[in-house]
Symmetry: C2
Subunit: 202 residues, 2 copies
DNA sequence: CTGTTTTTAATACCTAGTACTAATACGAGC
DNA sequence: GCTCGTATTAGTACTAGGTATTAAAAACAG
């Protein structure tokens, strides 16, 4: 695999990736991985505003714990513009304070995800939609104050399944991309019933 | 609320509770909470085999991340004995190494949960069962080598919803209790379809 | 070859602990 | 009262995984 020495910006990209798919790595491990000193990794993290491993994992734990993970339950994140049902759509979202990591101004990934997810669901003409997803990629960190534009395109539709591609941009720079599979359901009695039962059980 | 000084064992109980519903508390915060010194808290944690806050949260993060939380996907945890379909059941489970927290021998909660969940699902006579749950309580830590006996009783059944109470014991001492709601479904085409589609999308 | 950027090094400090030793307080029985 | 044993608190040395800062060395670009 890639052995030649990476440039700073290449390393930054690789670092974002590496931490994305294993947030538990310490600076020491990352330094070994990229064959640079620990200090270099720390500088990189500063520039990329990536918090230390303990804060990263604490945040992960908190997210999971406080069930903010009920992303599916969020109504709509972002303002819808240009919706052509079952074909394409666009949404604009400006993250607010409280959506960032402690201290710095980098927007937490699941809000970016949530905007994309909301849009994917919104453009499908169905009463109830379930999402499956794959090939999600966060390309650059998004800052507080950035204006996120998500664009959706339905690539295929088969039976009641829609394959939707979402690209999210900040000032024409791609920050996120993902493929979503939306299941449109008419018969949604089951889900509704489940919710009401859970509610009735206090 | 409870102001009088707690005895050691009372404090131990309270400590388990406190950490259960906020695993992010540091020893310092716990010490303030119980009006004892940090050292006392540390001694308590030792005795109860509760790891430090950083390990607790790292574990939480890992659990959430590695989606071992796909507990629903686990086939069956524990050996079924005495099953009377749609009425009651019992299962026996002896946790193995690897199901404990790093270092000490305390069994991780989701295995206890998984046994209960498995049993609840198993005693319901249906092709596919979805679980909703509530009122879960871990009462005492379970050690490696403990033999966990889970007992299930169907309390109510309405339409295709079953309300199941599970109590888990170690040597006749209650270690876990929970109420589960099981949704029995005949028409499980949707779920199956969802899986095959996700698989076909590599 | 000089100037700038990038990388590495070195140091002091921080949090939230472990591991250990030692001193003190508290209650029960006599 | 005093004494024994448990419970609690105190104190010290050490650890991981950092932050923050200053300074030196290396790499590269014109």
């Amino acid at each position: 695999m890639g052995k030649r020495k990476l440039s700073k910006s290449e390393r930054h990209q690789a670092l974002l990736q590496a931490i994305e798919n294993d947030p538990f790595k310490t600076d020491e491990e990352l330094a070994e991985l990229f064959k640079v000193s620990i200090q270099t990794i720390r500088l990189d993290r500063m520039e990329l505003r990536i918090p230390e491993v303990r804060k990263r994992t604490r945040q992960l734990a908190r997210d999971a714990y406080s069930k903010v993970k009920s992303i599916g339950a969020v109504d709509v994140i972002g303002e819808l513009v240009d919706v052509e049902l079952n074909v394409s759509g666009k949404s604009i979202f400006e993250p607010e304070a409280g959506m960032t990591f402690e201290g710095n101004n980098v927007v937490r990934g699941h809000f970016i995800f949530a905007q994309a997810n909301s849009l994917a669901v919104a453009i499908i003409d169905a009463e109830v939609a379930l999402t499956g997803f794959s090939h999600i990629k966060y390309l650059r960190p998004v800052q507080l104050g950035d204006r996120m534009v998500a664009k959706a395109k339905v690539e295929r539709a088969k039976n009641h399944r829609f394959f939707v591609r979402i690209n999210t941009y900040v000032e024409d720079e791609l920050v996120f991309k993902g493929k979503f599979i939306i299941f449109a359901m008419d018969d949604h009695k089951l889900l509704k019933e489940r919710d009401t039962v859970l509610a009735e059980e206090e």
